[in-house]
């Protein structure tokens, strides 16, 4: 009896204790909240010291005539003589201008050069008098000569040096066989630039719009002491915008460059890069929240965009993706019948429409993508590519023939080298499935990070590899010379005297019909010889803010280009 009373009182005591403790915890919680608030206030103060102040600007700021965009990554290299990647190209395209540039329709237009003359032996560019750097000094012919020497200087080790090889002695200078001063580019006077060619070249005007050809001013470059392009103050601008602030990894601010000569074409006063992330869902969320004016769509978030009833734009970015064979001695893929068997056992249409299902992609038919110009119209309209239809009987016949020629009873498992990203993952699985089902071949997938895949491609450590190529300039040669036997990027080591001959014609000839005939011949050889199996041409689906007009997407040059954009009132 007494025991239960004691228990009850104990329980009562416990209840009182619990209430009291709960009160204590409540106070603790309150103190926590106050403490957190104080901490956050302190952090805010700290952050305002280290970062640019101000919250998130809206996508469209009509009052300041400004828009906000995002970048997939921090621009790795804004030294134009060494930049290689698309993001750096995008930023450089807004803050720099070379001799020529591309206009809204993707046509060549005068830039720093007012007029120019190009013949078989060389070119002369007359620079405009009002072309100025962002510090107000005139842009001179010497700035181009300096930049080009820098691009070819072996000590500078630019990966894009090869694009300057059409200039006389370019390659010799780059290989260290001749001094820099022997380069065939000369400043006759401040406004006249003379270029001698290594050999006749039909598309030099297009090259001068490329980033490696941008001017660099010598005194500024030297004053930067090896940090040229590392920050907003360590770069001198020749283009419509100038970088006024750059917080690494976070934001860039591009303001109208008051010294740019063609003020009339620039309608925005400011382009803010407010966000840097490669996460496609973050981009979509930022777009939904009206924080950025444009975002690309992936296959996964396309539906989400459709639900919002946004107007979806499509754009072919000019890159081509293909299955490349290893043509080295001792590989089964060196055998033509074997390559034909593989080509006949798959279907790029099935791959694009039923397997990868990436928005905007087109089935690959040729090494030459559809955007390239021919003589009058598009190259691919003038010279339609021949396409192999999937044909299992023929494929198996070729496989039998290959087996006899190679003297094999059974084919060893083939190594399919690929990158590690969602699209190439399903692509490898597709090829693994069709080659097994249709030809009974075993495919070993070798998935590698980018650098390792390139290392293995260069070493020839594969049978098949998923590869791709994007254009550097708007001429079929940017694709055509890829399979020339001397090209270091020909990582499958395809070598054919007939093909090389056509590349030499295309490099040396000046008239379009001869050159296009040569490219048509290359296209035929690639098809007949099954140098590659074209997979797809990459497309991009994207959405833009309805009030921002004039956003230009480009196959060559800065993509995306906001320099012509304006805000619809």
């Amino acid at each position: 009896m007494s025991l239960t009373v004691a228990q009850a009182s104990d329980r009562r005591g416990d209840a009182a204790f619990n209430r009291s403790a709960a009160r204590q915890l409540g106070l603790f919680g309150l103190a926590t909240l106050i403490g957190l608030a104080a901490l956050m206030w302190g952090l805010n103060l700290l952050a305002s010291l280290t970062a640019t102040a101000g919250g998130a600007p809206p996508a469209v700021d009509a009052a300041n005539n400004a828009i906000t965009v995002m970048l997939a990554e921090e621009p790795p290299q804004l030294d134009s003589t060494r930049a290689t990647d698309q993001v750096s190209g995008l930023v450089l395209g807004h803050v720099m201008e070379g001799l020529l540039r591309y206009d809204q329709r993707g046509e060549l237009a005068p830039g720093v050069a007012e007029h120019w003359r190009i013949d078989e032996t060389g070119a002369t560019f007359r620079l405009r008098a009002d072309a100025r750097w962002s510090d107000g000094q005139p842009i001179t012919a010497h700035d181009f000569v300096f930049a080009w020497r820098l691009g070819l200087d072996p000590a500078n080790a630019s990966q894009y040096a090869f694009i300057l090889y059409p200039i006389k002695n370019g390659e010799a200078v780059n290989q260290g066989r001749l001094p820099l001063t022997e380069l065939g580019a000369r400043a006759v006077d401040a406004r006249t630039l003379e270029v001698a060619f290594e050999r006749p070249i039909a598309f030099f005007d297009k090259l001068t719009a490329f980033a490696t050809y941008l001017p660099v001013r010598e005194d500024f470059y030297r004053a930067a002491e090896g940090r040229y392009g590392a920050g907003a103050d360590q770069l001198l601008y020749s283009g419509p915008f100038a970088i006024t602030s750059w917080v690494h990894g976070q934001s860039l601010q591009l303001d109208r460059n008051p010294h740019y000569w063609d003020q009339a074409r620039v309608r925005l006063d400011r382009i803010s890069v407010g966000y840097i992330t490669s996460d496609p869902n973050t981009r979509l969320n930022l777009f939904k929240d009206e924080k950025i004016v444009m975002t690309g769509l992936t296959a996964e978030n396309l539906n989400s965009a459709l639900e919002q009833r946004w107007r979806i734009h499509r754009f072919m970015d000019g890159s081509i993706f293909y299955l490349e064979f290893n043509h080295r001695e001792g590989r089964p893929t060196r055998n033509l019948n074997f390559r034909k068997a593989l080509a006949l056992a798959q279907d790029s249409g099935e791959l694009v429409y039923k397997v990868t299902k990436a928005p905007g992609y087109l089935p690959g038919e040729s090494l030459f993508p559809r955007f390239l110009d021919g003589v009058h119209g598009k190259f691919r309209d003038e010279h339609p590519a021949r396409v192999r239809q999937m044909d299992l009987r023929a494929a198996r016949a070729h496989l039998r023939q290959a087996r006899q020629e190679l003297g094999l009873d059974e084919f060893p498992p083939l190594v399919l080298l690929a990158g590690d990203n969602p699209v190439s993952n399903v692509q490898t699985e597709y090829f693994q499935a069709v080659f097994k089902r249709n030809l009974g071949l075993d495919i070993k997938i070798d998935r590698q990070i980018f650098k390792q895949r390139l290392a293995k491609m260069t070493a020839g450590d594969f049978d098949l590899v998923l590869a791709g190529w994007g254009p550097d300039y708007n001429d079929p040669l940017t694709f055509g010379d890829l399979f020339a036997s001397w090209n270091l990027n020909n990582r499958g080591r395809y070598a054919s005297a007939a093909y090389d001959r056509q590349v030499r014609i295309a490099q040396g000839a000046m008239d379009a019909p001869t050159r296009m005939a040569a490219f048509a011949e290359m296209q035929r050889i690639i098809h007949e010889d099954v140098v590659i199996i074209p997979n797809y041409e990459r497309g991009v689906a994207y959405v833009t803010h309805p009030r921002v007009k004039g956003i230009v997407r480009r196959v060559v040059g800065a993509d995306t280009d906001y320099t012509y954009a304006w805000i619809d009132p």
Binding site: F17, N18, S20, A22, R23, Q24, L25, F28, G29, T32, G35, L36, L39, M40, W41, L43, N44, A47, S48, T50, A53, G54, G55, A56, P76, Q77, L78, R82, T84, P154, A157, S158, Q159, A161, N174, Q175, G176, G226, G229, H248, G249, Q250, Y275, I276, T277, S278, N281, T282, N285, D289, K291, Q448, I449, K451, Q452, L454, A455, L488, N489, R491
Partner: protein
């Protein structure tokens, strides 16, 4: 105490040296070419690049040079962002990660203690069950899911409200930090809650609490001075590694919320085989972790006088 601190510091330096050495050789044995790019390099250019980064030297010589520079606190130039020094990358981006981490740890620590104490008080009643269910979710769901969900929720809320309550992504103000740090701290908070709960329950039944009760001490005094203070010890122990884990593990959250923290460089450097950035960030984070463990051990003696530091 001083002797103990010095001893620990010395041990720490040896640990960092071992970390640096192991990372250096592991990194160089990873297959792949750090200089490879989309465009093939001519031999001449490759030779120049190798000379620039000292890759033309034998591995042991490279290691010697690396150690020499390490002593001077110089990690060299990044391979992928050639104009930036690794020291600058750490200096510019670590404060961001640290800010995010401090807030996350604050959320996790304070929240963990609060929820843990609550569950212990209301053991086997509904607040306990509800919180423990949330804890299981918090521990088992990875942070990238919470990050994506948190961001999606923000977009929806902003959409309903018609104005931006909190920014969806980006960096610069406290408003930018709130959701990311909460997401980042969630896992640790759940872990600490569970830890706090079990250590509270252990203490509620202990002799000294019974003694304090029978002495007639006020309930609140018993709670704060006898229960919480004792129960919090295991939490402090794991806080050190937790801080380091949060400061280094923010990669996903930093990607999703477009935050310019060091975690991004730490992970991407490995994917891009950016040797100098790999070494710089790994050694830096390693030293940071070692330092946090030492600090926590020293703190331990201060919180619990029973622990003698010798």
């Amino acid at each position: 105490m001083l002797r103990y601190s010095l001893k620990r510091l010395l041990q720490g330096l040896v640990t960092v040296f071992l970390i640096a050495t192991a990372t250096f050789f592991a990194m160089h044995s990873v297959p792949g070419d750090p200089l490879a790019g989309d465009k093939a390099l001519t031999e001449r250019i490759r030779a120049n690049l190798e000379a620039k980064y000292g890759l033309d030297q034998p591995l042991m010589t490279q290691y010697g040079i690396f150690l020499g520079n390490l002593v001077q606190g110089d990690f060299g130039i990044s391979y992928t962002q050639e104009n930036r020094r690794v020291n600058d990358i750490i200096r510019e981006h670590f404060p961001v990660s640290a800010t995010l981490g401090i807030l996350a740890v604050a959320f996790a620590g304070l929240g963990g203690v609060l929820w843990g104490a609550l569950t212990a008080l209301y053991r086997n009643r509904w607040p306990d069950m509800a919180i423990m269910l949330a804890v299981i979710l918090g521990i088992s769901v990875p942070s990238f899911v919470f990050a994506a969900l948190g961001q999606l929720l923000l977009v929806q809320v902003n959409g309903w409200l018609g104005f931006s309550l909190l920014p969806v992504a980006g960096w610069g103000t406290v408003a930018h930090m709130l959701i990311p740090s909460l997401v980042l701290g969630l896992g640790t908070m759940a872990y600490l809650t569970r830890l706090m709960r079990s250590s509270m329950l252990e203490i509620v039944g202990s002799d000294f609490v019974r003694t304090a009760k029978s002495k007639g001490l006020s309930a609140s005094r018993i709670f704060t001075h006898h229960q919480l203070r004792n129960a919090i010890l295991p939490v402090v122990t794991v806080l050190g590694p937790a801080i380091a884990a949060i400061a280094t593990g923010g990669f996903v959250v930093e990607m999703v919320f477009a935050i310019p923290g060091l975690g991004r460089y730490f992970v991407q450097a490995v994917q891009q085989l950016d040797y100098t950035v790999i070494m710089g960030t790994t050694v830096f984070y390693g030293a940071f972790l070692v330092f946090m463990v030492i600090v926590v051990d020293l703190l331990y003696g201060w919180i619990d006088p029973r622990v003698r530091l010798e």
